[in-house]
Amino acid sequence: MTNSGFVPLEHIVATQLDDGDGVLVDLNTKQYYQLNETAMLIWRALENGHPFEQIVAEIMRVYTVDDDHAVTSAARLLKEFQKRKLVRLAE
């Protein structure tokens, strides 16, 4: 996989807080989402166009988790972002 496969949609505004948590606001639906530190880390990685492998490596660098756990967490979060129409497939 050369990238995560997804990029944030243009109408999603993200803001990060001091404790690492963040909030996403969907300007189309007016919905907002509270993200924990891990989810925010993944969102920032998507904004920076990081490949899936780099996102997993970043999770393992920040948290004491093994490779399987990091891969599962990242994949689950990406699926959740996709389900809530916060990201689109990268071209």
């Binding site: 807080l17 404790d19 909030v23 007016k30 907002y32």
Partner: protein, 359 residues
């Protein structure tokens, strides 16, 4: 019709270029260090706006005194407005409908039309309908209010419904934030009665500055019903009680600067936020909130932060900075503090940390 903005984003105007000939029909107002220009077609229209703005901290000024160009132009028309968008985009608002696109919004309010131009135009056009005043007593005021709120947003000033007080000892203020009926006006009045400096009971603007997020008073008076005036022992300041609020006959205007001279502060830096909630528990208590929970509540209180797409990113950034600049708490307000208002300052002093350093 001198100027017509189309609703699809293209416009018959040049960004930043306003035709402002020397005219008696132009007035300037200063709000939170920014200048707003109102251009009307005749004196009566400008007088109508002026009367409305007298209730707010819109200070008449002129360009030579202000020393800076206007941040935003509000152009008032009495001609036929542009056609409203045919699409069903947007959403219902009080007294009308809001049509949205990526960079501008069109509001239909009580039969009048407001076009808030793209951000680079710094202008809002208002077509006042002759039919608007007959709809209800506040119909015209509501039109002007929607236009002013949009102009403020485009100039980086975000209207915010909150009480705001400042103790004599602190450099930072406490915001009291919540829906109508949560007790914020009563708490604000009680704290002011107890010696705190006041900024506003319900109507502020927030803006980003080099010092942090600033809160500025927007409305000049409090509004209370008679029971609250009695409960807060404010009826003793008879000279401060104005007339009833037009259209809300159960509410009175209360001029706090008259009742508490020297205790009014026009602007401050918030250091704490209290979200009051009426509680049936025997005793009041205060619980801290995470920044994420606080920001979520702030967004809920500011519907335009997500509805005005062009202003939304900066609006949300201001709310996010406010959440980071403050400590936030839920105040579960029980009967004890309303029966013994003098206990509120003690409760706050014990349990609320007011951040004093910029984050």
């Amino acid at each position: 019709m001198p100027e017509v903005l189309s609703v699809d984003g293209s416009a018959a105007l040049d960004p930043g270029r306003w035709d402002l000939p020397a005219s008696d029909f132009v007035r300037y107002y200063l709000v939170a260090d920014r200048i707003f220009c109102f251009k009307g077609v005749d004196e009566p229209v400008l007088n109508l706006v002026h009367e409305f703005l007298r209730g707010y901290f819109f200070k008449p000024t002129n360009l030579s005194e202000a020393g800076a160009p206007p941040a935003h132009l509000i152009q008032l028309h009495k001609t036929i407005p542009p056609a409203l968008p045919a699409s069903d985009s947007g959403f219902e608002i009080e007294d009308g409908h809001c049509y949205t696109s990526d960079d501008q919004i069109v509001l239909e309010v009580n039969g009048s039309t407001i076009v808030v131009g793209p951000p680079e135009f710094n202008r809002t056009d208002v077509w006042l309908s002759q039919g608007t005043p007959v709809r209800h007593p506040l119909a015209l005021n509501n039109v002007i209010l929607y236009a002013v709120q949009a102009a403020l947003r485009r100039a980086g000033l975000y209207q915010f419904h909150a009480g705001c007080v400042l103790s004599d000892n602190d450099q930072r203020a406490i915001l009291l934030v919540g829906d109508s009926g949560c007790g914020k006006s009563t708490l604000t009045a009680t704290l002011v009665r107890g010696g705190w400096n006041f900024v506003s009971d319900d109507n502020l603007v927030l803006c980003d500055s080099a010092s942090g997020i600033e809160a500025w008073a927007l409305r000049r008076y409090f509004t209370f019903d008679e029971a609250t005036l009695n409960a807060c022992d404010l009826m003793t300041f008879k000279e401060s009680i104005g007339g009833r609020v037009p259209g809300k006959t159960e509410k009175f205007r209360f001029y706090a600067p008259v009742a508490f001279p020297g205790k009014f502060v026009e602007t401050c830096l918030p250091g704490a936020i209290l979200f009051p909630s009426i509680s049936s528990e025997p005793r009041s208590r205060i619980e801290p909130l995470t920044q994420g929970d606080a920001l979520a509540r702030l967004i809920r209180q500011c519907p335009w932060a997500t509805c005005d797409a062009a202003a939304a990113p900066l609006h949300l950034q201001v709310l996010s900075k406010l959440a980071r600049q403050t400590r936030s708490y839920t105040l579960f307000a029980s009967r004890d503090i309303f029966e013994n208002p003098a206990s509120i300052p003690g409760l706050i002093a014990q349990q609320v940390e007011i951040l004093s350093n910029p984050q």
